[in-house]
Symmetry: C4
Subunit: 313 residues, 4 copies
Amino acid sequence: MPIHKRKFNPEDDLGFGTQPVLKNQPLIRQDGSINVKRRGLPFYNTANNYHKLITMSWGKFWLLVLSSYLIINTLFAFIYLFIGVENLNGAEGTNTYQHFWDAFFFSAQTISTVGYGHISPRGMAANSVAALESMMGLLAFALATGLLYGRFSRPTAKIVYSSNMLVAPYKENAKGLMFRLANLRRNTLIDLQMEIIFSYNENVDGKLVRRFFPLELERKRVSILTLSWTVVHPLDENSPLKDMTYEDLKGTQASVAILLKAFDDTFSQTVHSRTSYKCDDIIWDAKFTPAFDRDEDGTIVLNLHKIGDFVRL
Amino acid sequence: MPIHKRKFNPEDDLGFGTQPVLKNQPLIRQDGSINVKRRGLPFYNTANNYHKLITMSWGKFWLLVLSSYLIINTLFAFIYLFIGVENLNGAEGTNTYQHFWDAFFFSAQTISTVGYGHISPRGMAANSVAALESMMGLLAFALATGLLYGRFSRPTAKIVYSSNMLVAPYKENAKGLMFRLANLRRNTLIDLQMEIIFSYNENVDGKLVRRFFPLELERKRVSILTLSWTVVHPLDENSPLKDMTYEDLKGTQASVAILLKAFDDTFSQTVHSRTSYKCDDIIWDAKFTPAFDRDEDGTIVLNLHKIGDFVRL
Amino acid sequence: MPIHKRKFNPEDDLGFGTQPVLKNQPLIRQDGSINVKRRGLPFYNTANNYHKLITMSWGKFWLLVLSSYLIINTLFAFIYLFIGVENLNGAEGTNTYQHFWDAFFFSAQTISTVGYGHISPRGMAANSVAALESMMGLLAFALATGLLYGRFSRPTAKIVYSSNMLVAPYKENAKGLMFRLANLRRNTLIDLQMEIIFSYNENVDGKLVRRFFPLELERKRVSILTLSWTVVHPLDENSPLKDMTYEDLKGTQASVAILLKAFDDTFSQTVHSRTSYKCDDIIWDAKFTPAFDRDEDGTIVLNLHKIGDFVRL
Amino acid sequence: MPIHKRKFNPEDDLGFGTQPVLKNQPLIRQDGSINVKRRGLPFYNTANNYHKLITMSWGKFWLLVLSSYLIINTLFAFIYLFIGVENLNGAEGTNTYQHFWDAFFFSAQTISTVGYGHISPRGMAANSVAALESMMGLLAFALATGLLYGRFSRPTAKIVYSSNMLVAPYKENAKGLMFRLANLRRNTLIDLQMEIIFSYNENVDGKLVRRFFPLELERKRVSILTLSWTVVHPLDENSPLKDMTYEDLKGTQASVAILLKAFDDTFSQTVHSRTSYKCDDIIWDAKFTPAFDRDEDGTIVLNLHKIGDFVRL
């Protein structure tokens, strides 16, 4: 395996460090997330909380909004109870249970600024709390809806990658390591730039060290992604993978990280996508089959389910 | 036609694939959109829905907002009817029809948080639904207005291109393939970068294949677009189009895609514009006429209607 | 004047065209705006309207918001009058004048969703209009406040430039054309890139043509703007302005356009600034005096009023 | 000290000027802020006010919001008192003190658009003021919440840097000036670019002048920051710091400014981070110890508290 002939400089990391991969835990997972735990993150941190609120699932988000609404109203209900329900004009409850719900619904009407007025505050204390609550309500709801909109409009790329990398025929008498991708979003992606990083474990004086190096590409950039894009690393003399075998790759826990950068033309934002292939995802001697059809009017139809389709040769 | 002398590598796509153009269906339409259908897009997808809501026409958008408002209020009206109109204090309707409208307008007053209070909820059930509705109303309206503002402020470029490309005199004894453009927006465009991609069908062993290659430009970038910009591809020895004829282009369904990138100085955003020319849009032996006038105070006046004006030589 | 020795290609515009400058009307004004009128702009256009609403003065903006509020309420007041004031419960006016104001203030309470409820709608017609008005009010106010926030948060650079360009001593025995700038905002500007374009009228076969070319700079980019930046064009053998005189510049209506690009570190946005100097702004044989003081604790104090200060030599 | 062998051009500033550092006041502080005072900033300026409101501490921000709410309500309370409390239906206060609070809470209910309606305006004057107040309230609260959301979503990087720079062994028989960093945020940083600027005081003809020059790096850019990044300036023949000693650095008040640029993959925004090291922060003959552990399942665990850990050799 000619990989090891390459000279590495121990300090020349690519931001990945030199920790070997053990037990099949690649640094970049297939879904593009980074497989590293971090200890010592500050517990309370505005940016991290914002990050969590924006990236959590929709179910959790709605649960959080709803439960916050209930909890805050309950808290204010107790405050109004403490001040005395007699300070809420129009509250007609006759026992503590009913008093609580009068106060609770008055709070809900205040915090949402709906303010029907059939219940209204009387006296300094109740009025002050209500004035504060309506102010807080406006700010809190605006924040919630800001988050809601932020979740909707967050710039993301959704790329479908072929499930496998192929070692396929390429030019005359040569081979290339290939994968294929297409856009799963309705937006137009332009100015796409691809970076592929190969990594494997190396035994340096009996100690496992992880090595990383970028693979050269036939084409690193395309102007616009109209259909699919087949990315090719030529397996020629310059490639350290020229004569690689499955056993070589398996033995060194090799993996290939894919880093894609593109420009979302619809929202004028740069977006990124990542994925990774393990050695088990590589198929020798196969080639991709077309993922296109023709409509009756001559328009090309891209079938996104066929992006990963290939035939063995 | 010297185009075919150029060597192509089958894998060297520019993101356009190698599907030939049939029945005059270019990959990029004149309005800049991409002429490809896609099958297999996920049906429910936040980003795609957001994309639709932002890019749909204003008429459709308002219709959607209004009908959502009606539908949601109708739904809540039925819920209040189900709970019983006797739980809405102040509702004076005496038959089911009037009850429905009492509930409907109470719902509207609740969801918009206007809450006049001449109708107000009584009891746990009605109060709970009203509390939930006002909360949902705040979130829904904030989302609608977020979309409204997103539609207003979406970064876009509106470029007017000349309707034709001209084969015009250029320098001494030479010719160039030219088109002209100007900004239709009030914003200032700076740092404009142009990319032009020529494509045609080629017969490879009896099979039609689409070829793409970028055309060299006299100037690929201008610092600021104050007036109009005449983009020139010199038809010199380096140009594969040097001796092209209308028949060459027509027979191969040739087309030229224009990809423009610029920076919107007013809103500090990168914007893009695309268009395409078919061979029928190319005029041989003509040149653009000035699109400028002079004001009485010496100021230059750019007439946007004259961007495409030319004279035959 | 050695400028004319430079060869120009007529098609090689920098986006400025070749129209000569007449009556002292430079293409870029001193405040950075572009001095070109455009005819044929579409009258109704979302992006242009948004642009106007964001860039108009604060006075005009508030006047527009206030007058829209008055006009819309007046319109709705007439609708309620048309439906009949008897459909507004609690309206106590006894003549048409009072009826109008009852309807007007009811409309204001509805559109702002304050909804006190001492006046409330009765019947289908009044209720429907009120429901529609409160919905429109929510959307309109959200749009107004979106604009308000957009005006506040719009990324802009505010650079103070020296009023004059100086022909000052530079290195040993050489001279440079210099100007100085500093940041008038509290934000931090990093990665500043400068482009300077010199232009003048040239007589080509009896016809005035405007020529543009970039001037070489000692340093085109600085990493961070902590204090002030003195931008220098060396007047050496490579400079077409080496031996320029005031008369040369005046006779050709020469001017220098300054295009600055920077990154606003606080809000992570690219910002731009432009200005221009006419030949009357150039001072021969002078140099800038320091614009710095020292605080008692050793901190450097930059005095923004002194950015343009110079002494004649 | 070989630094002084380097030739400097007095006009070749890097945006830092040539003012010497006195009394240990470096231009860039350890927290990345710029240590320069500026006189002559315009007092009233939208962008600077926005900047202050976005960057002030959370405590100050909430205090400002709350006190504005109180002050505006107090102002409107006095206006309603001036118009006469008899124009507020339902206000039951019997002395001036109670009248004030009636007016105050009516104002709060109006500005927050809660509008219970147990107090409601009567007559032209009170109605007009209330209509204006509710409009202003909507705009003011939207602005406050825009700021709130702007504070939450502002793109920032939070990088933890090692407390010290080390002169550590590097390659065979060589040394390097090193520091280490990691990401304290949950977001993913990609495309990191590093710039390091060394500065010191030089005695030029008896006058202290500050010199700045960039240090060459082993690697200026990494594709993605998964773990930590050790940035290395090789102390080889090309380095002006090759044989530097503590005394050299101390005597010239030398310092090293670190400018980091990265792309926040989660929010698609470019972010920056800065810090600086003084000569007292440099440790000779030491090396960083690993900051990684292994989880039981093989995942790498980065311990952010150990980023600065080193051993002396």
